[in-house]
């Protein structure tokens, strides 16, 4: 099967390409961009004039809710949501039920996902058995089963002693340890940023030092163990500053931020909007602005959806009782584009945060349109406006703080391995 995508503006952050060109696809891989390979005859031609073609998005965190939470979402629904959002590669956190701490579970998940022939799923294994923070998970076995890193998800971080062991062990094999920096004691019971809004609303608070103390601990342990660490979901200006300092010292770290934290702040909690109950909490507008700058400067390597489908029943409760998280696979692209526009970045720099830079963290072959790379492509209309209507989302999770709001930038077609999996 040979395909030509004709007339699109090809934006490939990995190679620095940005210009109108044809993309030639053969046997599921990029054969050439620009001039057709010798003797290329397309079986299928896709007219893409006026559209942008970029590598399929790479999302560092999408909860697919299997196994265990099928009433919130299923692999089928969330894989459809992924490609509807132009996401062709995603990492899923291990905080399922049971958690991804056994090779058998990981194999089952990857096999089921592969069978759907949609986005490519790379599981993150549990760092500790049951995510309890007490015993090491079988990292080598899990890696063999397909895990690309080891994570505690939203479960509390292990204590410093256990963290040191886990990072040492992972470093033995060169595995990446993913950690969401949040001190469990300082965060306990909290549901909102410690500031004026939490005080006004009478919500139990999570202070910024919950993030910075955990970061300092992680950075110190990473330095002595030599572990490669990925810091997941930064939330504060102080946290971003610590990461910048550590990177300047040469620490082997990468980090990401959830897309909501680039657009929302604790002010959006307004009248207890449970859709804004997120982990980590939305913080002060000054934190949000610092995070936006940190992504633009490269201190924060990547932006992810942190997609977390939640059923209505778990959101239609008082704020503090609501399950944290937002459905975001289908909003990742327009919200990233909006951040890029508002930050004065070009498309290459904007899209790098959800393609090449994210793929580098996962260590997988994705997020590039280089010759020979898998033909995973997102075609989108940069200027098309659309309104977020929960019922129109492919995800089973209709929970988003952006419902009813207008987005600019719409995915028109998503291609995985040369095959159209979403769109006309």
């Amino acid at each position: 099967m040979k395909t030509e995508i004709r007339g699109a503006r090809v934006v490939d952050p990995a190679s620095g390409r940005d210009g109108v060109a044809s993309i030639f696809i053969a046997e599921g891989a990029i054969a050439a961009i620009g001039a057709a390979p010798k003797g290329f005859r397309a079986d299928e031609t896709i007219e893409a004039k006026g559209l942008v073609a970029c590598p399929g998005l790479v999302d560092l965190s999408a909860r697919l809710r299997e196994p265990g939470f099928e009433y919130k979402a299923t692999l089928e629904s969330e894989m459809r949501a992924a490609v509807a959002g132009g996401v062709t590669t995603l990492a899923c956190p291990p905080d399922t039920d049971p958690p991804l701490d056994e090779p058998g579970l990981v194999e089952m998940l990857t096999r089921r996902a592969a069978g759907l022939e949609c986005a490519k799923v790379h599981p993150l294994g549990a760092l500790t058995v049951g995510l309890h923070g007490e015993r090491l998970a079988e990292m080598a076995e899990l890696a063999e089963a397909g895990c690309v890193g080891f994570f505690q998800g939203n479960a509390p971080l292990p204590d410093a002693g256990m963290l040191r062991h886990a990072m040492s062990y992972a470093a033995t094999f060169g595995f990446t340890v993913w950690l969401r920096p949040e001190d469990a004691h300082l965060a306990r019971g909290g549901v909102a940023h410690d500031g004026e809004v939490a005080t006004r609303l009478g919500l139990a608070a999570i202070p910024v030092i919950a993030e910075t103390i955990a970061l300092r601990t992680i950075l110190e342990i990473a330095a002595v163990t030599g572990a490669r660490v990925h810091l997941a979901r930064l939330s504060s200006a102080a946290g971003a500053a610590l990461v910048a300092e550590a990177k300047a010292r040469g620490a082997r770290i990468t980090c990401d931020v959830g897309i909501h934290h680039l657009h929302l702040s604790d002010r959006d909690l307004a009248d207890f909007d449970a859709q804004c109950n997120l982990r980590p909490p939305l913080r002060d507008p000054s934190d949000r602005d610092a995070l936006r700058r940190a992504v633009a400067s490269g201190t924060i390597d990547a932006v992810c959806s942190d997609h977390t489908p939640v059923d209505d029943d778990a959101k239609q409760v008082p704020f503090a009782e609501a399950e944290a998280g937002a459905s975001a696979l289908e909003l990742l692209l327009p919200l990233t584009l909006q951040w890029g526009r508002e930050s004065g970045l070009d498309l290459k720099a904007t899209l790098a945060t959800v393609t090449a830079r994210a793929a580098a963290i996962l260590g997988v072959r994705a997020g590039t349109l280089a010759d020979g790379a898998p033909a995973d492509i997102c075609l989108f209309d940069e200027r098309a406006p659309w309104i977020v209507r929960p019922e129109a989302l492919a995800s089973q999770g209709k929970n988003t703080p952006f419902q009813g709001l207008e987005m600019t930038g719409r995915v028109v077609r998503t291609i995985v391995g040369g095959r159209t999996v979403h769109g006309a």
Binding site: G195, A198, T199, G202, L203, A205, Q316, A320, E321
Partner: protein, 316 residues
């Protein structure tokens, strides 16, 4: 956004969820209405027919005898039918959700819900889901708000001090966990109190509270100096010793209101407390029962203020 949910486009009160977002005019209207009801309680027949035929459901997801009783009395004096539900020990322990409980009660033709809940924001959630015409009164939600308490405190202060525009008011104790303090702060600021202070140890003062327009004091003697109104907050038993305070005795020593400390306030300062009091913890008996205490009038005014709120909501 509070205001939109609470006050309709016609300017009428639809729900009472928080004192935040109520205009000074609305607060004055409530207090003026309460004035008329203070007389009712002094009559032989303590009833007016304003809510005749209406059903008021007291839905308490968190136990409270006193507050529930005052709402019950207020509703009965307005001739409403009152149904008390202690949900803390019924439906939710069977796994029913908050909204299911409310929908079920609404199907029994409730006109008004008086809701107390341990979670901040629960009454807002209910108010967003009830049928048009059904009113919700927040009788205390988590640490967030207790607006009728805040309003009865405003009534009490107005009764004794007449004018808010030159007052110094101190709120003392566990501000962190106090929905009463938050409701008082919003109402006092809206009514134009120029000098509003909160006093307590750093462990019991919430972050950024000065953004609500208060000055923070940690030294009781300094904080209380020259005040016209001293409001003592209740210290919950479970907070008296542990991570936030070492002991009730030490709290009393530092922040308990004694005659000696009260002497630093203005000679005609009034002392208030939302009840129930912990004598010897936040307040000394000599003060609680002393000439400056207006704690019992607060309780009496509380009925009138709740009647005022219910009558305004019932006529909307």
């Amino acid at each position: 956004m509070n205001a939109n949910l609470q006050v309709g486009a016609d300017g009428k009160l639809r729900h009472l969820l928080s004192t935040e977002g109520l205009s000074a005019e609305m607060i004055r209207r409530i207090l003026d209405t309460a004035d008329q009801f203070v007389g009712v309680s002094e009559r032989d027949v303590k009833k007016v027919p304003l809510l005749r035929g209406k059903s008021v459901f007291n839905v308490f997801f968190e136990g409270s005898t006193r507050t529930r009783t005052t709402f019950e009395i207020a509703a009965k004096r307005l001739s409403a039918d009152v149904i008390n539900l202690n949900v803390a020990v019924s439906s939710t322990s069977k796994g029913e959700t908050l909204l299911d409980t409310v929908y079920n009660l609404q199907a029994m033709d409730a006109d008004m819900f008086v809701v107390r809940h341990a979670q901040s924001g629960a009454p807002h959630l209910i108010a967003r889901h009830v049928k048009p015409g059904v009113a919700v009164i927040n009788a205390g939600d988590g640490r967030h708000a207790h607006p009728t308490q805040g309003l009865l405190d405003m009534y009490t202060i107005r009764h004794y001090k007449k004018d808010f525009s030159a007052l110094s008011v101190a709120i003392v104790g566990d501000v962190l966990h106090s929905r009463v303090a938050r409701s008082q702060i919003h109402a006092l600021k809206t009514l134009g109190v120029p000098d509003l202070r909160v006093i307590g140890p750093k462990t019991l003062i919430p972050s950024a509270v000065e953004r609500l327009g208060v000055r923070v004091f940690h030294d009781m003697a300094e904080g209380i100096r020259g005040c016209d109104v001293v409001i003592m907050l209740r210290l919950q038993n479970e907070r008296m010793s542990g991570a936030l305070l070492p002991s009730a005795a030490e709290f009393f020593k530092c922040y308990g209101l004694t005659l000696e400390k009260l002497a630093r306030a203005k000679p005609d300062a009034i002392v208030m407390h939302p009840g129930p009091m912990n004598r010897g913890v936040e307040i000394d008996s000599a003060v609680a029962d002393g000439r400056q205490s207006v704690i019992m009038p607060q309780v009496t005014f509380g009925i009138a203020v709740r009647m005022a709120v219910m009558s305004m909501l019932g006529s909307a």
